[in-house]
C-alpha cells in the first residue's frame, strides 16, 4: 500500500471540513467540495449497478447519482430515517467534474482543521485500504474525525469493479 508520504494538498495545508456521522464514527469532507445538503428524498433506482449506487435523484431538473457511503465502505446497511442526509458534492474524476449525492447517517458541523491538527492515517497493512483517507483530524475534545479524500471515494472509471471486498469490512 503505497499511500503515506504521497499525500499532499490538504494534508499539509489543512482547511475547513464538513463533518458527518456514519455508524457512530465522525468523518469529514472538504467544505469547498460540498454543494448542498438536504434530507432524504425519493431515489430512482438504476438497475444493474453496484449496490452502493442507490440510483438517481432529481435536483431541480438535474439528474444526480447518489451513493450510500455506508455501503461504499461496506458498513452495515440501515434504514433511512429523518436524520439521514444527502450531501451533494462536486469532485473530479478522470479530469471530469462529477456531481454526486452522498447518503450519510447525519450531518454534524463545519470544523476547522489546520495542518498541525491532522495526523496521517495509521497503516493497517494490506488488510485495510486507507487510500481514501487524507488523515485523522484531531479536535480539542477526544473525538477523531476521519478526513476523506473525495476523489478516491468516487468509483473509478468502471462501476462494475468489485466494491471493497468482504474481507476488509470494517469493525
Amino acid at each position: 500500500m503505497a499511500n503515506s508520504g504521497e499525500k499532499t494538498g490538504l494534508y499539509s495545508t489543512g482547511g475547513k471540513f464538513l463533518s458527518f456521522l456514519l455508524s457512530q464514527e465522525q468523518y469529514g469532507l472538504e467544505i469547498l467540495k460540498v454543494v448542498e445538503i438536504f434530507g432524504m428524498m425519493k431515489i430512482t433506482a438504476v438497475p444493474r449497478a453496484p449496490k452502493y449506487l442507490k440510483g438517481v435523484i432529481n435536483l431541480r431538473g438535474k439528474i444526480i447519482p447518489v451513493m450510500d457511503l455506508r455501503l461504499r465502505f461496506s458498513l452495515e446497511e440501515r434504514p433511512y430515517d429523518n436524520k439521514t442526509c444527502i450531501i451533494v458534492v462536486t469532485g473530479e474524476r478522470a479530469e471530469q467534474e462529477l456531481t454526486v449525492g452522498l447518503i450519510v447517517d447525519t450531518v454534524l458541523e463545519v470544523k476547522d482543521f489546520p495542518a498541525e491538527m491532522i495526523s496521517p492515517s495509521p497503516d493497517y497493512g494490506a488488510g485495510l485500504d486507507t487510500d481514501f483517507i487524507i488523515g485523522m483530524g484531531r479536535d480539542g475534545d477526544e473525538q477523531v474525525t476521519i478526513l476523506l479524500d473525495l476523489e478516491k471515494i468516487l468509483p473509478a472509471e468502471h462501476i462494475d469493479i468489485p466494491v471493497t471486498s468482504e474481507s476488509s469490512a470494517a469493525q
Partner: protein, 881 residues
C-alpha cells in the same frame, strides 16, 4: 552558405530591386546577376520550392518584359525572406514556414486565410455536389451551365486565394480553370474532385500549422499527364508569372462599351438570402466607419473595410452576382493598395467607397427583388461607370508613379492630392501616354445610346427565356447568427421550463381544481410552454441536404472503384432533422449507400443481361410521417436473395433450418454481426461489420431499420428516426414502484394477457401466444431485481415490442399513459447500464428510466439462460426511502 547568409544576400537584392526600373536595362542585369549567383548556392537544397521559383524568375525574358521581371523578382524576394527568416506575419506556427514556400505569400494575413478556409470548406462541398450531379444528369446543354458555374466558382476561389495569400491554391485553381476551358467539365470530373480534396487538405494543413502534403506545382505536375494530350502551351509560363503577384497584377481588361446584359442568379436561395443579409451588415459597418468623419484612417480601419469588401466579393461570386463581384473586386484591389500604403486613403477614396456602398445597396436590392420574383438581373450602367471611375483613378495613380519612377515608392501616394475624382481624371488625361489610347475609343463608344442594343437583346432574351425554367418565387428570410452552444443551452432550459410548468400546473389543479381562473390560466400556460418547446426544437433543425450531397460523392466514388455505372438521385432533401441526428446519421448512411452500390446494383454486364438499363440508380429520399422521419435508400439492383441469405445464416448458426422466418426477418439477418453474403471481400464492403454497426447506430438513436426487396428488382432500406434526440416520445409504464418509459417507436401494442395466452417452455422460458405467433416473454421487474406489484402475469400488462424486425413481449406492472419528455443522461457514474438508455423527468418531478428495448432483450436473454446473476448486480431494492 547558411540560411542566414542567404538572407543577407537577399536583403542586398531587395535594395537593388527598389532601385531598378523597367527603363534601365543595366540595373536589371545587375539584379539578375546577383540572383544567378544566389541560385548557385547549395543552401537552397533545404528549400527546394524556393529554388524552383527562383529558377522560374530567372527564366523570364528580362529585356522583352522588364516589368514582369521586376515584379517576379520582388515577389520572390519577399517570399524567400519570409521563408528564410521564419517570421513575417504568417500565422503558420510551423517551425519551418519554408514548407509552404511559394504556396503562401509572405504578406498572408492569417485572419483572412481562416476566413477563406471557413468559407470555402462548405462551398467546396457544394461545388463537388454540383459536379457529381451533372455527371449523373446526361442531358445535353446542362454542360454549358455547369461549365459556367465551375468557371465562376474557380474564379472566385482564385481571386480569394490570391488576395489572402494562398498562392499555391491560386496557381492550381488557375491551372484548373485553363483545363476547364480546354476540355470541358465532363472530361475533368476526376481532376476537379481531386482539386477539391487538395484544397481541403491544404486548408487543413494550414489550420494545423503543418506543411501541405502536396505542393501546387506537384499537384499540377501530377495531373498534367492525366488530363492528357496537354501540349506545353507557351502561355503557361506567362500565367505562372502573372499569378505570382496577385496584388499588383491589377487585371485591366480590354475596355468594352457598356451593354446592358442579362444574367441570372445561381445557387441556393436560402444561402443567398443569408448572404444578402450579411452583405447588408458589412455595408453598414463600412459606411459608419467612413461617415465617422474628421479622423485619420488607421491601418485597422482600412483593413476592416478591405475585409468587408472582400467578403461581399466572395459571396457574390458564388451566386454569380456578377456586378457585385466586379465592383467589389475593383474596390478591394484599391483598398488593398491603400492598406499597403501604396496610395493614400484620402477624401477621394472615401467618396469612392461611399459610392461603392450606395451602389452595393442598390445591387443587393435588385438581387433581392430578382430572387423574390424569380427574374433575371440586368447589368446597369452605374456599375459600368463606377468601374471606369476607379480604373481611371488607379490608372492615374499608376501613371503618376511611372513619371516618378526611380523615386521611392513611398513618395507616390502624395501625388494624387486632388480633392475630387474629376481632377484625378484630368491628371490622367494630361499625362496620357500613347499606348493608352484604347481609353479614348472606349469613351467614345460608351456615349452611344444603349437603347438600340437592348432592343435586339430583348428579342434574344425572349427566345432564351422560353428554354429556361422560371425560378420559383422565394420569400426573403431574415436571420440572426447564433452560436450552437447557446442554442443548446436555451433548449435545455426550455425543456426544464416545460417540466416545471407542467409540475406547477398539476399542483395547481390538484389544490385549486375548482377555481376557474386557475384552470383557464394553467391551460394557457400549458399551451404557451408547449409552443415554446416546439419552437425551440425547430431551431435545431437543419435540412438533410448537406448529408445527401455527401452521399452523392460516396456513390460516385464507390461506383467508380467497382466500375459500375450508377446514378444518384435525391428526394425530399429539404426535410429538416435535428442537428444531432444528422451528425449521427452520417456514418450509417454512408455504409448503407455503399452497400447499395456494391451489393445492390449489378455490374454493367449483369444489368444488360437482365435487360435493365446500363445505368443503375441509387436514390435517397427523406420525409416526415406521423412524428417520425423516414429516410429511404432505394436501389434498382438485384435485390436480396432470400434463399441465399437463409443458407448463409444457417451456415453461420444464426438461425436453425427449422425456423420459419418471414421475408422481413430474413432480410434483417444482414444486420447480424459478421454476416456477409459477398462472395469475396472487396475494399468497399463484404466483411459483414458495416451493417451490424449501422443497426446499432440507428438503434442508439432510438430509430429502426426495415427492408423491402424484390429479387431482381432492387431493395428499399428504410430508416425510421424520432424527430429529435432531445425528446423521447414513449409509453410510461410502472414497474415496481418505478416508472419506465418505453419509446413509442419500439412499441407495437400492449394488452392484458389471459391465462390461455401464456405457456412455459421447459418450465422456464415463458412464452406468449400472440396472434398465432409465439413470443418470448421477458419480465422487466424480475430481470432488474425490482419488486413487481404482482407475480401473476395476468394481473399485469404485456407490451409487445419490436426488436430488429422481431417481436418480443415485455411484462410490466401497469401502463400509465403516453409521455414526451426531455432525455437526460444518468450521469457519468453510470456508464452503459444495460437496457437503460437514459432517463427523463416526469411531470410529477420523479425520474423515469428510458428502456432501450434492444439491449434489454439481449440482457434478458442472457439472464434467462444464466440462471441467477451475480447478486451484486441485482441492484437496490426499493421502497426504503
Amino acid at each position: 552558405m547558411s540560411a542566414g547568409q542567404l538572407l543577407e544576400v537577399l536583403d542586398d537584392c531587395a535594395i537593388l530591386v527598389v532601385m531598378m526600373s523597367a527603363g534601365d536595362p543595366t540595373s536589371l542585369e545587375l539584379v539578375a546577376d546577383n540572383l544567378t549567383e544566389l541560385r548557385k548556392q547549395d543552401a537552397w537544397s533545404d528549400y527546394p520550392n524556393m529554388a524552383t521559383s527562383l529558377s522560374q524568375v530567372l527564366e523570364i525574358n528580362r529585356s522583352a518584359e522588364p516589368a514582369v521581371f521586376i515584379q517576379a523578382v520582388a515577389d520572390f524576394i519577399s517570399h524567400a525572406q519570409s521563408a528564410l527568416s521564419g517570421k513575417g506575419d504568417i500565422a503558420v506556427k510551423s517551425d519551418s514556414p519554408s514548407n509552404w514556400a511559394g504556396d503562401l505569400a509572405a504578406t498572408a494575413d492569417a485572419e483572412l486565410i481562416v476566413e477563406f478556409i471557413e468559407k470555402h470548406t462548405s462551398l467546396l462541398d457544394d461545388f463537388e455536389a454540383r459536379i457529381l450531379q451533372e455527371v449523373d444528369a446526361s442531358e445535353e446543354g446542362s454542360e454549358d451551365e455547369l461549365q459556367g458555374f465551375l468557371k465562376s466558382y474557380l474564379h472566385n476561389v482564385k481571386g480569394d486565394a490570391g488576395s489572402v495569400g494562398l498562392l499555391g491554391v491560386e496557381k492550381v485553381t488557375h491551372w484548373c480553370e485553363d483545363q476547364l476551358l480546354d476540355h470541358g467539365p465532363k472530361a475533368l470530373t476526376e481532376l476537379l474532385l481531386a482539386y477539391k480534396e487538395w484544397v481541403l487538405s491544404l486548408c487543413k494543413a494550414y489550420s494545423e500549422g503543418s506543411a501541405p502534403s502536396e505542393f501546387a506545382l506537384d499537384f499540377i505536375e501530377c495531373w498534367k499527364g492525366v488530363v492528357g494530350n496537354e501540349k506545353e502551351r507557351p502561355t503557361d509560363t506567362e500565367h505562372e508569372r502573372g499569378e505570382t503577384h496577385p496584388k499588383e497584377g491589377q487585371p485591366v481588361e480590354v475596355p468594352k462599351p457598356f451593354q446592358s446584359e442579362e444574367y441570372s442568379i445561381s445557387g441556393d436561395t436560402d444561402i443567398l438570402s443569408e448572404f444578402l443579409i450579411e452583405a447588408e451588415d458589412h455595408l453598414s459597418q463600412v459606411e459608419s466607419m467612413l461617415l465617422d468623419a474628421g479622423r485619420a484612417y488607421s491601418l485597422e480601419d482600412l483593413d476592416a473595410i478591405f475585409r468587408a469588401v472582400h467578403s461581399i466579393k466572395g459571396g457574390s461570386a458564388y451566386f454569380s452576382l456578377r456586378e457585385i463581384t466586379e465592383t467589389s473586386h475593383i474596390t478591394e484591389s484599391f483598398m488593398d493598395k491603400a492598406r499597403d500604403g501604396k496610395i493614400i486613403f484620402n477624401t477621394v477614396l472615401q467618396e469612392i467607397v461611399l459610392e461603392y456602398v450606395g451602389l452595393q445597396r442598390e445591387l443587393l436590392q435588385n438581387a433581392r427583388e430578382a430572387m423574390t420574383n424569380g427574374t433575371a438581373l440586368r447589368t446597369c450602367e452605374q456599375v459600368f461607370r463606377y468601374k471606369q471611375r476607379i480604373e481611371d483613378y488607379l490608372l492615374s495613380v499608376a501613371l503618376v508613379s511611372e513619371f516618378e519612377s526611380g523615386a521611392e515608392v513611398k513618395d507616390v501616394p502624395e501625388m494624387p492630392q486632388t480633392t475630387d475624382a474629376a481632377e484625378a481624371i484630368e491628371i490622367k488625361e494630361a499625362r496620357r501616354v500613347p499606348e493608352l489610347d484604347p481609353i479614348a475609343v472606349r469613351e467614345e463608344k460608351h456615349v452611344q445610346p444603349v437603347t438600340k442594343q437592348s432592343e435586339t437583346e430583348a428579342v434574344h432574351q425572349a427566345e432564351r427565356e422560353q428554354d429556361k425554367k422560371v425560378p420559383e418565387k422565394v420569400k426573403v428570410k431574415n436571420y440572426v447568427k447564433i452560436e450552437t452552444e447557446r442554442l443548446d443551452h436555451l433548449i435545455e432550459y426550455i425543456g426544464e421550463m416545460v417540466i416545471s410548468s407542467s409540475m406547477l400546473i398539476r399542483n395547481c389543479r390538484d389544490l385549486l381544481g375548482e377555481n376557474e381562473a386557475v384552470l383557464s390560466n394553467s391551460n394557457q400556460l400549458e399551451r404557451i410552454s408547449r409552443e415554446i418547446q416546439d419552437l425551440g426544437m425547430s431551431m435545431r433543425l437543419i435540412p438533410i441536404k448537406g448529408l445527401f450531397q455527401k452521399m452523392s460523392r460516396v456513390v460516385w466514388d464507390t461506383a467508380k472503384k467497382l466500375k459500375k455505372d450508377v446514378r444518384f438521385e435525391m428526394e425530399g432533401e429539404d426535410t429538416e432533422l435535428d442537428r444531432s441526428v444528422i451528425d449521427k446519421l452520417a456514418d450509417p448512411l454512408m455504409h448503407m449507400v455503399r452497400n447499395a452500390v456494391d451489393h445492390g446494383v449489378e455490374s454493367i454486364q449483369e444489368r444488360q443481361a437482365a435487360g435493365k438499363p446500363k445505368q443503375g440508380v441509387v436514390k435517397l429520399s427523406a420525409y416526415h410521417s406521423g412524428g417520425s422521419i423516414y429516410i429511404e435508400i432505394t436501389d434498382d439492383g438485384k435485390g436480396l436473395n432470400r434463399e441465399k441469405l437463409l443458407a448463409k445464416a444457417i451456415e453461420k448458426g444464426l438461425v436453425s433450418s427449422g425456423d420459419k422466418l418471414s421475408d422481413e426477418e430474413v432480410y434483417m439477418l444482414i444486420f447480424a454481426a459478421g454476416f456477409s453474403t459477398a462472395e469475396k471481400v472487396t475494399d468497399v464492403s463484404g466483411r459483414g461489420v458495416g451493417m451490424d454497426v449501422v443497426r446499432r447506430n440507428i438503434e442508439s438513436m432510438r430509430g429502426r431499420v426495415s427492408i423491402a426487396s424484390t429479387l431482381g428488382g432492387g431493395s428499399i432500406f428504410t430508416i425510421e428516426l424520432p424527430l429529435t434526440l432531445a425528446i423521447v416520445e414513449g409509453i410510461e409504464t410502472r414497474i415496481g414502484s418505478q416508472s419506465f418509459i418505453i419509446p413509442s417507436l419500439s412499441v407495437v401494442e400492449f394488452l392484458r394477457p389471459t391465462p390461455d395466452m401464456l405457456m412455459h417452455a421447459l418450465d422456464k422460458a415463458e412464452t406468449l401466444k400472440f396472434r398465432g405467433q409465439f413470443l418470448p416473454l421477458y419480465r422487466v421487474a424480475e430481470t432488474y431485481g425490482l419488486h413487481p406489484r404482482a407475480t401473476d402475469p395476468c394481473d399485469r400488462i404485456v407490451m409487445i415490442v419490436e426488436v430488429a424486425g422481431r417481436l418480443a413481449a415485455l411484462l410490466v406492472d401497469d401502463v400509465l399513459g403516453k409521455i414526451s419528455a426531455v432525455i437526460k443522461g444518468l450521469g457519468d457514474l453510470y456508464k452503459e447500464v444495460e437496457g437503460v438508455s437514459g432517463c427523463a423527468i416526469l411531470p410529477d418531478g420523479a425520474i423515469g428510466l428510458i428502456l432501450d428495448v434492444g439491449t434489454f432483450v439481449s440482457l434478458a436473454k442472457r439472464y434467462e439462460t444464466q440462471a441467477i446473476p451475480d447478486s451484486r448486480l441485482l441492484g437496490p431494492t426499493l421502497g426504503e426511502c
